[in-house]
């Protein structure tokens, strides 16, 4: 948080000041100290062990449940006090500003939720009260929505102002978060309802399912990471044979994701295209090395072998339980808009969307990489070439999307290739991905 812009400082101070006012006006004497202590402890325990999600930066904090329970049991002031304990969270946050802001935003969320709960006529359970749940469910849902909204908005604010994220990203990420937040928030009502019957034991009873949910989330995250890492490593293994194409899969994957996000694909489709981009050339392994390394023009048969590689790739990855779309993307990434591509000769909209995306990223990376027969082209030259091919070879929509994303996020071209000194180096002499240097085919 060192390079925080002045606007962000102002924002943080504002949020903290508001929270301070909310807490300073709290009549402490009205709050039951035992309830407050137990709920604050529950909040801290949950908040110190957040579950990582696939969404970067975000975590599902199960502390939501404690906050919402305090909304019902203690009202806005108590909820604000419970939220403020986030300052001493056990998470590994080192910057004091962050801790302060975190506590302040939880306090404000709790306070807002408490106000909404009260305004809608919600009340805590009184022993012997019949139909309490029916009576309180409406106000509680209102409070829950208020809590989640204020929480996400305050977080989004700091991320936007300190330029750590663009609002499209935030919108996408919060879409994924809201579902979990609302679901776990319901536990708050359970804690509140059980409080009078079993007391603090309610917190313990609720904690177990909460932590198992957290465990499952964390496991999912770990497995997903492992999956991606394994895929990347295996793709790298496929590439090792050729010094010039190392890292190609990884970069095509990144480029495809950039395009996919730019044209506003859903998150699960973006995840699928990430894998599809990585695996798009896996079938190249089925092309005999001597064809890839041939210097002169290729014979018809040899070119046919190259044209087959998307099919071989499909053959390998078909068993993976992917979205079908990813498979289509791998199979058709060499089709052209004018119908002259391979393997099927599809044209225009017949080409699956994934394939049109991958094709652009694929060509761009190939052109900006060094090849044995030419030096790497500059970004500008490659962009020029993409523009020239738009409509005929590439989908203009994808090209434009890619250029926009390129402008915003930049592109790290591969390092110049340094060949090892021994003479057994094998390199491809023609690149089937390179649109600017078409493969030469000998006329029979």
């Amino acid at each position: 948080m060192r390079g925080l812009p002045p606007a962000a400082w102002a924002y943080v101070s504002g949020v903290v000041a508001l929270a301070a006012v909310a807490i300073a006006t709290t009549p402490l004497a009205d709050l039951d100290p035992q309830t407050l202590a137990v709920l604050a402890a529950l909040f801290l325990i949950c908040d110190s062990a957040p579950a990582k999600l696939n969404v970067e930066r975000a975590r599902v904090s199960l502390s939501y449940a404690a906050s919402l329970a305090s909304v019902v049991l203690l009202g806005p002031d108590g909820a604000a006090l419970v939220g403020v304990t986030a300052i001493v969270t056990g998470q590994r946050i080192f910057a004091p500003v962050k801790r302060l802001f975190n506590g302040a935003q939880f306090a404000l969320s709790g306070y807002a939720a408490g106000m909404v709960f009260g305004a809608l006529g919600g009340d805590r359970y009184r022993p012997g009260q019949a139909e309490w749940v029916e009576h309180v469910i409406g106000p509680f849902l209102g409070a829950l929505v208020a809590f989640v909204t204020v929480n996400l908005l305050l977080m989004a604010g700091i991320l936007l102002i300190s330029r750590q994220a663009a609002w499209q990203e935030l919108l996408r990420e919060s879409g994924e978060l809201v579902f979990g937040c609302l679901g776990y928030g319901m536990f708050g009502l359970l804690i509140a309802g059980l409080w009078d019957a079993v007391g603090p034991f309610a917190a313990v009873l609720v904690l177990l399912p909460l932590f198992i949910a957290r465990w499952a989330l964390a496991q999912t995250h770990a497995q997903q990471q492992a999956h991606t890492a394994t895929l990347a490593a295996l793709c790298q293994a496929v590439e090792t044979k050729d010094y010039y194409t190392r890292g190609h899969s990884e970069r095509v994957s990144r480029g495809s994701v950039m395009i996919a996000q730019e044209i506003g694909m859903r998150a699960d489709r973006v995840a699928a295209i990430r894998y599809a981009g990585m695996l798009h050339d896996v079938g190249k392994l089925g092309v005999p090395t001597k064809v890839l390394q041939k210097t002169g023009p290729l014979t018809e048969e040899e070119f046919a072998a190259i044209q087959l590689h998307p099919m071989r790739g499909l053959e390998i990855v078909r068993e993976i339980g992917f979205l079908d779309e990813a498979l289509a993307g791998i199979m058709h990434h060499h089709e052209r808009m004018n119908g002259r591509g391979y393997p099927m000769g599809l044209a225009g909209d017949e080409i699956p969307e994934f394939a049109r995306v991958i094709s652009v990223a694929d060509a761009f990376d190939s052109m900006t990489s060094t090849r044995s027969y030419r030096a790497a082209r500059t970004k500008e030259e490659a962009i020029e070439e993409l523009r020239r091919g738009a409509g005929d070879h590439f989908d203009p929509v994808m090209v434009e999307a890619f250029l926009r994303a390129l402008e915003r996020e930049g592109w790290e071209p591969p390092q110049p290739v340094v060949l090892p000194d021994d003479d057994v180096v094998e390199t491809t002499q023609q690149d089937h991905d390179d649109p600017s240097v078409p493969i030469r085919i000998a006329k029979a």
Binding site: I137, G183, F187, D196, A213, A216, T220, Q224, T240, I320
Partner: protein
């Protein structure tokens, strides 16, 4: 003679799943359901509204049942709902007076209804898994219903519930282990340990949720169940994602292990045959499920190092390559796998796959000057590596052929090499697995 060998391993699954154990479980559960339904029809439902709500909860749970690692079918929401019904003491101020058999009948009805959509889309229900779940619920109901009618203190009741739930968890794990031991031919003790490892978290979650259902229903009345469904569904969703990604992971490794085949480095189907053989041998030797999974990954990827070779080894059979070359392939493969950053143990298994079982006795004390020129004394290769070494050699030499004499000859050759090259116990396990396939 060799025609009997055609039966192959794949055909074994269908009927052997219904060995005596599972059949008994299904029969007991079926009888119980018939008795319960008959009793309830004769006597009528006690508190029908509550029964319907819990029945719906069970049906929803069955609808969202899922398959966890190791092909285990679970339905956590259904189990938690039914257990909650079995443990129910009061609904709001009202006393819950339903008998144990009504619990069984309601759970069975819910399971039936929840299974209908699955059947409609062509997924046949797994009777043994459903019977197991139902039996667990029935036992809890039979034990706890009489207790629930006594007027006990809250604390005592909660303790009793916890004890009953832990016992029921153990019972379920035992039944599951029994079924699994027969299905995958593992020893009961090992199956039990695997089952415990796989189910512990889920059992705890289901038990705690069931208790929470009981407590909140008695405090807040029926509406508490509605409040419940939201977080439960979110949790279930998390579990499903977890199960899904685990399955995808294995599929990915399985699929990508074929790159060596497509690249012409090894014979078609080699990696899969080696991995099947290796897993069967590992089971025979009593490996736990976690180790088996690592063994499977390692076996699938054991030839991945060949990708880094310039030219494929003729025929792809590493067993015919020189020891140095074999070691190089193993090293290269381990490097690739290490890159993942998460499969270090698998990488180690692959690295050691080419090492002889008894390396020239490492360390000092051997007068054998030439052979003992090993610079650093290495620990003996892990069991998984020894298994892969033997399985790989067998498949390289036999391949897809189902010729009995050839298989026997290869086994004989491996036996001759054992004690130095191959681990004798591993070779014997291989012989048993191969022999069973032939007669199976």
């Amino acid at each position: 003679m060799s025609t009997s060998a055609q039966a192959g391993p794949s055909r074994r699954h269908g009927w052997q799943r219904f060995d005596s154990g599972p059949l008994a479980v299904v029969a007991v559960a079926g009888t119980l359901v018939v008795v319960a339904v008959a009793t309830v029809t004769a006597g009528g439902l006690v508190q029908p509204q509550v029964a319907v709500i819990f029945g719906v909860l069970v049906a929803i749970g069955e609808l969202f049942r899922m398959v966890m690692s190791g092909n285990r079918e679970v339905a956590p929401i259904a189990s938690a709902g039914a257990l909650g019904y079995a443990l129910l003491t009061t609904v709001g101020p009202e006393r819950a007076g339903h008998p144990a058999l009504q619990v069984v009948a309601v759970a069975a009805a819910g399971m039936f209804v929840g299974s209908l959509p699955h059947v409609a889309v062509g997924r046949s229900p797994r009777l043994d898994a459903m019977a197991r779940r139902l039996l667990t619920i029935a036992v809890v109901a039979l034990v706890f219903r009489p207790l629930a009618s006594l007027k006990l203190e809250w604390e005592v009741l909660l303790c009793l519930m916890a004890v009953t739930l832990v016992a029921s968890c153990f019972l379920e794990v035992c039944i599951a282990a029994l079924i699994r031991a027969e299905a995958v031919r593992a020893r009961f003790g090992i199956a039990l340990r695997d089952e415990m490892n796989a189910k512990m978290a889920l059992c705890a979650a289901v038990g705690a949720t069931a208790m929470l259902i009981v407590v909140s229903t008695s405090v807040m009345g029926r509406a508490a169940l509605l409040v419940f469904t939201a977080p439960i569904l979110v949790t279930q969703f998390a579990f499903r994602r977890y199960a899904g990604i685990r399955a995808t992971y294995l599929q990915t490794v399985r699929a990508l292990s074929r790159v060596t085949e497509v690249g012409g480095y090894v014979e078609a189907g080699h990696s899969h045959r080696v991995s099947r053989l290796a897993v069967a041998m590992g089971r025979e030797l009593g490996m736990a499920e976690e180790e088996l999974l690592e063994l499977e990954y390692a076996a699938l990827m054991h030839d991945i190092g060949q990708l880094s070779l310039g030219d494929p080894i003729p025929g792809g059979a590493t067993v015919l390559a020189s020891p140095n070359e074999q070691r190089r392939i193993a090293e290269l493969g381990a490097e690739v796998i290490k890159e993942t950053g998460v499969l270090d143990r698998v990488a180690y298994i692959v690295r050691r796959q080419s090492d002889p079982y008894r390396a020239t006795p490492a360390g000092a004390g051997t007068p054998d000057g030439n052979g003992a020129a090993v610079p650093s004394p290495q620990p003996p290769p892990p069991l998984a590596s020894r298994i892969i070494k033997a399985a790989n050699a067998y498949d390289d030499l036999v391949g897809e052929s189902s010729d009995r004499d050839r298989g026997a000859a290869v086994l004989e050759r491996l036996r001759l090499d054992s004690a130095v090259e191959y681990d004798p116990t591993v070779v014997e396990a291989l012989a048993r697995v191969v022999g069973r396939r032939r007669h199976g």
